[in-house]
């Protein structure tokens, strides 16, 4: 009788334990593939490839040699033309960070953040003290604009599916429209349901 009671208690505990919601921290560098869609690992691999390609390519050394200073880059638009919702900011931010930490490439603010900066500057014109207010017209002009696109190819039949992502980043000379660097990263996946 006692053993039956113990067994029942144990089984009840196991059932309850299996139903409980569980959250655990994992290493961002080792995100497991769960559904097969775009995930943190893909973003990280893209960032690593783009950082490596952009920093070692000849465009950088050529610019420094010709101008004697580091180039200034502004981040433009990235178009996601794949079949999934992908936010490029995750790997673009890593790339931007590498520009700053290596001090090889200058970076200027763009988009809504730049608008906010100007708005703050405008606010300072009437509210800040004369000695601390920041002037208009002294922003650093970018030499290059960084733009990109994300594309995907899906091939599926019954329970098997292959997905190929292609991420392209282009660096264009704002003055001459000349594309000086194209970085690319291809990620292929085989998903079996």
């Amino acid at each position: 009788m006692k053993s039956i009671f113990t067994l029942l208690t144990l089984s009840a505990f196991l059932v309850l334990a299996s139903c409980s919601h569980k959250v655990s921290r994992i290493d961002p560098a080792e995100t497991p593939d769960i559904s097969g869609t775009w995930n943190n690992t893909d973003s990280r691999l893209t960032a690593e490839a783009m950082i490596n390609q952009s920093m070692t390519d000849k465009w950088l050394s050529e610019y420094v040699q010709a101008k004697g200073k580091k180039p200034v880059v502004i981040v433009g638009m990235v178009t996601n033309k794949s079949h999934e919702h992908i936010e490029a900011e995750t790997f673009m931010a890593d790339l931007e960070k590498s520009f700053i930490t290596t001090s090889k490439v200058g970076l200027v603010q763009s988009g809504k953040k730049r608008e906010e900066m100007r708005s703050e500057k405008a606010d300072q014109q009437t509210n800040a003290t004369v000695s601390t207010l920041k002037k208009f017209g002294l922003e650093k002009g970018a030499d290059y604009i960084l733009q990109g696109s994300i594309n995907s190819i899906v091939d599926s039949y019954k329970r098997k599916k292959t997905v190929t992502y292609q991420i392209n980043l282009e660096l264009t000379d704002i003055q001459t429209n000349e594309v000086v660097w194209i970085g690319d990263k291809k990620i292929a996946k085989y998903v079996k349901n």
């Binding site: 638009m77 990235v78 919702h85 490029a88 900011e89 763009s110 809504k112 608008e115 599926s156 599916k161």
Partner: protein, 114 residues
């Protein structure tokens, strides 16, 4: 004569100043394009440093199967609701009255059958 000379000098100075603005090999009609893009200057600001989502729907056998299943289920449910409402009838022999003619307290039948 003096006035004419002065105005000619001013015009020449103007041309010279204009010519000085042009950089080496710069297109003299650059202002046409500049004015055009200055007028729409604020529009790219909203898309800069952002990801524009221009996604497409890829065919996936499993997703398509699930979608068809859900569609069929919704259709069946809709038909059932519609047909049930229109095809109901009154059953005088089972109108929720017990042997003594009193309402049956164990269910909610009111004589209307689906």
């Amino acid at each position: 004569m003096k006035k004419l000379l002065l105005s000619l000098t001013i015009i020449a100075a103007g041309f010279a100043a204009n010519a000085q603005e042009l950089a080496l090999d710069q297109n003299p009609n650059y202002k046409v394009s500049m004015d055009k893009y200055l007028a729409v200057q604020t529009s790219p600001v909203t898309t800069m440093n952002t990801t524009v989502q221009d996604t497409y729907k890829a065919y996936d056998w499993r997703t398509a199967k699930d979608e068809k299943k859900a569609e069929r289920r919704a259709e069946r449910r809709e038909n059932r609701l519609f047909n049930n409402y229109n095809n109901r009838y009154y059953d005088p022999y089972n109108n929720n009255r017990n042997y003594y003619g009193r309402p049956n307290q164990y269910n909610n039948y009111n004589g209307w059958r689906w």
